[in-house]
Each structure stands twice: as C-alpha cells, then as structure tokens.
C-alpha cells in the first residue's frame, strides 16, 4: 500500500525533494504549497522541479544532501547529509543538534 501511494501521489522522498518538504511541514507546520515554495526557494529551483527525479538527483548531488545511491562514492549520507540539510533549509534538525552536543562541537 505504501508503494501504491508513493506512485499515485507521493513526492518521492530522497529520490526528489520529498524529505525536505516533509521537514518544513513537521518543523514549521507549513502547509503543502508553502513548504514546497520554501524548499524550492532555498534550492534555487522551480516548484515543479521538486518532484522531478532527474533534476533532483542532480541537485542533491550538487548540494551533497544524499540520494538513493547514498552509499556510493564520496556522497554525504545519513547524518552527514542532515548536517547539510539543516544549514540549507535554515532548520534545527534534532539528530544533528544531538550529534553536535555529544561531540561537544556546540
């Protein structure tokens, strides 16, 4: 069922910008269109590009914020990518803040 929804109406997670738009809903209570506009602005792309796998794969590689092939090569993955996403979206990410506290970087 999760896969049916993903194909029918889902944004696509880290294949696209789904995780980034979701973060704005979760952290700032932004409605869908507001969250999409905010993320598109920060990424300097159009709202339509947010759910395009081809463009977003390149954008995510350029910004080094993880793709579905996150394990390959020099790409950031997991918590590394979240450090970059927090900065990119001007957002506090709980696991990133915890990492900084635990490593006494902050």
């Amino acid at each position: 069922m999760a896969l049916t929804h993903m194909h029918a109406s889902g944004m696509g997670g880290i294949r696209t910008a789904g995780d980034l738009v979701a973060r704005m809903q979760m952290s700032k209570k932004m409605r869908l269109n507001e969250a999409k506009a905010y993320v598109a602005g920060k990424l300097k792309i159009s709202v339509a590009d947010l759910s395009d796998e081809v463009i977003m794969n390149e954008v995510r590689q350029d910004l080094d914020i993880a793709t579905v092939y996150g394990g390959m090569g020099e790409q950031s993955r997991g918590i590394e990518a979240k450090f970059r996403i927090a900065k990119l979206l001007d957002l506090e990410i709980n696991s990133v803040s915890r990492f900084l506290r635990k490593t006494e970087w902050r």
């Binding site: 069922m1 999760a2 896969l3 049916t4 929804h5 993903m6 194909h7 029918a8 109406s9 889902g10 944004m11 696509g12 997670g13 880290i14 294949r15 696209t16 789904g18 995780d19 738009v21 979701a22 973060r23 809903q25 979760m26 952290s27 209570k29 932004m30 409605r31 869908l32 969250a35 709202v47 339509a48 759910s51 914020i65 993880a66 579905v68 996150g70 993955r77 997991g78 918590i79 990518a81 979240k82 996403i85 506090e92 990410i93 709980n94 696991s95 915890r98 990492f99």
Partner: protein, 346 residues
C-alpha cells in the same frame, strides 16, 4: 460498464450514472453528518472521472504530489515475516520505497508496553538517525483500554457501563487518562532525546473521548517541553465516540467531534500534523465511500491551519476493508485526496 468495488473489496459493475449517483450520495451523507459544505459539481465530476478511468492504476498530475507519512511503518515489514532490524527497515523505506518520512515502531504498538523498553527503542532511534536522511518519527497508539483491568490498574469502564455504574465508569476513564498521559510523555521524551524528529500518536481516540483527551494533554505537555518537536495526531475514526460523554479540552466537549472540529483542538494542543480519518462502509460502493471521505477531508483541510494528512489505508479513506487493499482503489483514493481534497499529505 464501469468496474469498481464494494467497500468489502468485491468487484461490481456500475454504469457511469450509477457511479455519479453513489458519489453524490456519499457527499450528501458527509454533509448531513458533519454539517459541512458539499463538494462542487466540478469536483464531483472529477471524482466520477477518477472512478471511471479504465486503467487499473490512477495517479495525480505532475506537480500535485503530496507528502507521505506512515503509521507503524516498521511493522509493515515485520508483519511480512522478514526478519530484519528496525534501522535496516527504515533504510529500505528511504532508499527503495521513496518514503518522504520514516516511522520507527515496536511490534507492541502501544505506549504502555513501550515504556518498559524505552532504552532499547532509544537505541534503535539513535542508530537509525545516523544512517538515514529522511525525517524520522517514532509512532505508537495511545490505546487507553490497556490501562483497564485485568491488563491495567483501572476499573474496566466497559464492564461498569453495562452494569449501570455510569459515574464509576467515568471515574475509571479519567484515572486511565492520567496514566496514559504520563506514558505518552515519557516515551515521547525518550525517543526525542535519542534523536527522533517527532512522535506520531496513531489511532487516537480509538477508545473514545477519554483517549482523545489523553492524547491532546500529552501533546500539550510535549510541545511545552520540546518546542521544535514534530507531533502528529492521527485519529482512529471520523467521529469521537462519547464513551465517557462529558470530557472536554479547552472548553470543547470531545464526544461527537468530526475531523474539521478535531483538527482545531489538535492545533490548540500544539500538534504539527493532523491525521484525519474517515471510515469505510463495507456495505457501500467505493464511489460512495470516496465521495464521503473526500468531502469530510476537504472540510478538515479548509478548517485547518496545520498540515492535514488523511489516513488512506485498510478500511479508511475510502479504501476497502481488506487485508490486501486493491491497487485500483488505493491509487484512486490517493489521487482524489490530493487533487480534490487538497490534502497536505497522506
């Protein structure tokens, strides 16, 4: 003839006129029960179009995509008998299932049993947060009945009510609310401290108004404690049962509230996302259930200031009440919720 299904999943054939008549009847039922606005003629025509398309699978137009959250996401793999750990399940959701969000969940998906194993769950949360990029929820059910005898400490309201002991039944539920709030705040705090982005209260108010009150109070306390925490309140049904009947939150009686009213209280309690539910009537057709569910959800979206994610799964959101939800119905419900209901997510 159009091939569609009943709410129990069985195939039926209808004419296009019959499909439209059933959608209109479903809309009318929602309007009457919820005292809400109907869908427009154009919206009803679009639902007819979605139902009547010959393709097995239907999807939104480019650009109309929304955000997906997952109730008990981890358990969907565990239930299939695939023996892999929770962090690995989350990696599969993120990288193979294209999930916008992730949700960790323990097999005993209720706050009461989870409080005993919070350190282990914190470990799973912390490990997962290191190896995944998508936002991470921890989810569980408030499940108020677990606090009643013989499983819990409180007298059982379901036994007291048939015996005519109304005051005792109400007192028992009020006592259970106190226990449940403590457990939800304890578990929610634990998983947030471990690195989760937020908590998902799933199937809220399954036990009626007392359970809804407990969840709102827990949400309020967590919001005061963690201003940046994501909190999703997902409901169990479209209508809050008045099992107690007199409980209130912020001066509003909880029994009898529909989604567009429930969401206002979720907002006041500090929720980030509200999960609207509309139950599927298995004796009615899919078009009837679709018209009804979209009408309720659209009203909720219009009333809300926070994102609304409709529950569109087994037996809710127009999806037939079966263990293997048919793709033809799920994809149509998914599309209709995004394009007519204007949901922020599912």
């Amino acid at each position: 003839m159009i091939v569609t299904r009943m709410g129990d999943g069985s195939f039926i054939k209808m004419s296009e006129e019959e499909v439209k008549a059933d959608i209109e009847a479903g809309v009318e039922d929602a309007v009457k029960r919820g005292k809400i606005e109907p869908l427009t003629a154009a919206e009803i025509d679009y639902l007819v179009d979605i139902c009547c398309r010959p393709q097995k699978f239907v999807s939104v137009q480019q650009g109309n995509e929304l955000i997906l959250t997952y109730d008990s996401g981890t358990l969907k793999i565990t239930r299939l008998g695939i023996p892999i750990g929770m962090p690995q399940i989350m990696q599969i959701y993120e990288r193979a299932f294209a999930a916008d969000t992730l949700e960790l969940a323990y097999v005993h998906y209720s706050f009461k049993p989870i409080k005993m194993i919070v350190p282990e769950e914190q470990y799973a949360v912390a490990e997962t947060s290191l190896v995944t990029t998508a936002p991470l929820f921890y989810g569980a059910m408030p499940n108020l009945p677990l606090y009643t005898q013989p499983d819990g400490p409180c007298p059982n309201a379901a036994e007291l009510l048939p015996a005519g002991k109304i005051a005792e039944a109400r007192a028992a539920q009020e006592e259970a609310v106190e226990y449940a709030v403590k457990d939800m705040v304890f578990v929610g705090s634990g998983v947030y401290e471990a690195g989760a982005d937020g908590i998902d209260f799933d199937t809220t108010a399954a036990a009626g108004d007392a359970e809804f009150q407990a969840t709102l109070l827990a949400c309020e306390q967590l919001r005061a404690k963690y201003p940046d925490m994501a909190i999703e309140i997902g409901m169990a049904g479209e209508f809050v049962l008045g099992f107690h009947g007199q409980l209130e939150y912020d001066g509003v009686r909880l029994a009898g509230l529909y989604p567009h009213q429930q969401v206002k209280l979720a907002e006041k309690a500090g929720a980030s996302i509200f999960g609207a539910v509309v139950n599927t009537n298995s004796s009615r057709t899919f078009p009837w259930n679709l018209g009804r569910a979209v009408t309720f959800c659209k009203a909720c979206v219009e009333a809300a200031k926070i994102p609304v994610h409709a529950n569109v799964g087994m037996g809710v959101g127009a999806v037939p009440l079966v263990m293997t939800p048919p793709i033809d119905c799920v994809s149509r419900a998914s599309t209709a919720m995004a394009e007519v209901g204007k949901l922020d997510g599912l």
